[in-house]
Symmetry: C2
Subunit: 120 residues, 2 copies
């Protein structure tokens, strides 16, 4: 899967939140300063060429929706990140967060349960 550039990814995030949207609806989701409508339209078209979006035509306007799910993309993106920062080791990534104390004991217990139940 192609890695998305920054702005492309912001736009995909907006679509993933909204599910289905007109370009008009995407713009408010983007961080300030808001880009020009046509800038977004261009990126959306590129995203469609890349296979990330598809559209239905409603009268005169296009209603776009994601063709690739956030989860699918995350899977690839995180794989890259783990390979880049953590030498391809998921445990060493988790150890990093452990050291950073970003996870509370309660959360930890919940996660352990979640992981174990997923394994069954």
């Amino acid at each position: 899967m192609v890695k998305l550039a920054k702005r492309e990814e912001q736009i995909m995030q907006a679509f993933w939140s909204l599910g289905k949207a007109y370009i008009k609806e995407i713009i408010p989701e983007l961080p300030d300063p808001k880009p020009h409508y046509n800038s977004v339209a261009t990126m959306v078209k590129i995203l469609e060429e890349k296979g990330f979006l598809d559209h239905e035509t409603v009268g005169n306007i296009y209603n776009y929706y994601p063709k690739i799910s956030r989860e699918e993309y995350q899977k690839h993106a995180m794989k890259d990140i783990v390979s880049q920062y953590f030498n391809n080791s998921y445990p060493s990534m988790l150890a990093f967060f452990a050291k950073e104390e970003k996870i509370s004991d309660t959360e930890l217990d919940e996660l352990v349960n979640l992981i174990k139940s997923n394994k069954k």
Copy 2:
């Protein structure tokens, strides 16, 4: 902290591995095709301007070393990632990995111990 571009980050990764290095030593660490010596020198200079590297002069040549540690940078980079993909929730990121079953039971136990011992 500034987010590094792809090549900049590759170069920083090389410095983080080597600790201290001449430009000459960085090049073999980079993925093929190896960039031109001067291309690397330019990026290294930019990285120095951005505060990621510093150097000592040894006779006629510069010996560069990281001013910002890999851990420091990771902390920021991962913060961005978690905010971007996981709505600022570290637990929800971990849940994602749990679902992906990237973590074995043994690894999980080790991590739980690691996290708990860090908390003391």
